[in-house]
Amino acid sequence: MSQPESAVADAQAGGRSAQEPLAKLAQRYGLRRAIARPRFHVYLRQLVERRHFILTYATSRNVSKYSSSALGQLWQVLTPLLNAAIYYVMFGIVLGGRDGVVNYPAFLLTGIFVFTYTQRSFTAGAKSISGNLSLIRALHFPRAALPLAYTIQELQQLAISMGVLVLIVLITGEVPTWYWLMIPVVLVLQTMFNIGAGLVMARMGASMRDLNQLLPFITRTWLYASGVFFSIQDKVVGSAELPQWVATAMYLNPAAAYIEWMRDILIYKHIPPAMVWAPCVFWAVFALGFGFWYFWRAEERYGRG
């Protein structure tokens, strides 16, 4: 039996109190049920009160993560760079992804770094509850603190990768413009989306144990659908001769939208069209709102096993 809503719980307790004196005794002394889901706004406030824990937990995880490897935090930058090198050779040169793309190295790296942030938040979110059962079963805190901390951990890592990305974009011959001031805006929107997506994945990962096996599948598909190493318009409509709506649908997916906006800023140097910024804003607001609500709905069930 899952934990009933508080109204139902009250009714049940009331029904039992007719035969069971214990529930009545509890009522007389004002004792409350040990498990009850707080109202949504109370929950958000509790979460804000736990901000120190969330930040410390994220930082601590980052520190301990690389403490055993010799190169340490350098891996945060090395991994996407090595990936980029493979993609550059395979998709850029061998399969001709770079044909007709301005400054392909910068194009590719922007795609990979932006996509990796969302992908990692996604994967980490799915493990944030199921991998922390002992913590959930030992201490009291709003459970959303965990997926939130995991996304913040990824954000902390992104700060380093963004520095590397800007450096490489400069090396490949781009010059800084006023448009670069928009970078934080994109990152804030993307972080909002990532937090929301992480929360949704956390709840799904908590109940669907096989999700972790499926995730590489999903993120791989997502990687290909987001035009990380090719131009969606050129390849999907141009080379593959698929109808235009396929390309449009691909551009509307959150990962592609954030990548496009970042490329508009760093490489193409123009304000993104509504086709790009509108989905970015929509996904950020929608994912954040829905994510918190969806996660909160199952708050009292996490840790059940």
Binding site: L22, L31, A34, I35, H52, P216, F217, G305
Partner: protein, 288 residues
């Protein structure tokens, strides 16, 4: 999966409680016996009402299934249940009332549901049936799960305090007290993975008892540590009781229970077999 099984055995004790032949249930929870230390003030703090806890256990995946995304997908599409899933009825209809100033020892064999009961009182495991009513927020003395072995004691103290919901001001205030109480001195600068098991246990106890709790649940925290530290921690438990709280203590060391508790609950296969004065219950427990 391995992580899970490990986690579960940690929570549950080694042998799962199986539905077996019923044992005699203590019909009505007696009012708490007057203990050797002090008398409860009479206001209930924790009421456990016909509590049932059912665990879902996932066994280790068989060899040919591991890590194959396709298999996982087909299984989900076919809506097949996970073959290794089992339900364990760990607590079966436990009822009792705990009062202000009570220190209740919980005894029983491995797998009798002691840890599960404590987690349910702490509100960390939802009841399958029945309910737990509490005054304030009971907390489990178990900050271990939040700590990270690779980090220094210093960082872990801060992390553990935040995990228990302290504010930065409280953390600063308590920090030195925790270091002093744990007695780990300069080791606080080293990663916890370099600590001896006794030192680790001392630091963990020091961190988790730094916060004031209304209802405190202690699960085997006193088993480790040297004699001097044991004395210190028993004293701290007494302090908590004196500040009008309620303490639940699970321990296999019956001496600790006899010295600190004024009431003992004996759990057997998820049910209360005896509940009352420590001397009587412990005598019966050691006999049978």
């Amino acid at each position: 999966m391995a992580e899970l099984t490990k986690e579960l055995s940690q929570v549950k004790g080694e042998e799962p409680a199986v539905r077996g032949k019923d044992v005699r249930v203590h019909p009505n929870p007696e009012p708490p016996a007057k203990g050797p230390l002090d008398a409860p003030t009479g206001t209930p703090t924790v009421i456990v009402d016909d509590l049932h806890i059912v665990y879902r256990v996932y066994g280790a995946a068989s060899e040919n299934e591991k890590g194959n995304a396709v298999n996982a997908l087909t299984r989900i599409l076919k809506r097949q249940g996970r073959p290794q899933m089992k339900e364990v009825h760990a607590v079966k209809g436990v009822s009792f009332v705990a009062y202000h100033g009570d220190a209740i020892g919980v005894v029983g064999r491995n797998g009798s549901g002691k840890s599960t009961l404590l987690r349910a009182i702490a509100g960390l495991l939802p009841p399958h049936e029945g309910a737990v009513y509490t005054d304030g927020q009971p907390s489990l003395l178990g900050v271990n799960a939040a700590l990270m072995r690779e980090l220094t004691g210093e960082r872990n103290i801060v992390l553990g305090c935040y995990a228990m919901g302290m504010t930065p001001a409280e953390v600063r205030e308590k920090y030195q007290e925790i270091v002093d109480f744990s007695g780990i001195d300069e080791f606080v600068q080293l990663p916890m993975s370099t600590y001896s098991s006794g030192m680790g246990a001392r630091l963990r106890f020091a961190i988790s008892s730094a916060k004031t709790h209304d209802v405190l649940l202690i699960d085997e925290a006193l088993a480790t540590g040297d004699r001097e530290f044991r004395k210190k921690s028993e004293q701290r438990i007494r302090q908590i009781r004196e500040s009008a709280g309620t303490v639940f203590l699970v321990a296999h060391d019956l001496k600790v229970i006899e010295q600190t508790c004024n009431r003992v609950i004996w759990l057997h296969k998820g049910k209360i077999k005896m509940d009352g004065d420590p001397k009587e219950v412990l005598a019966a427990y050691t006999k049978g």
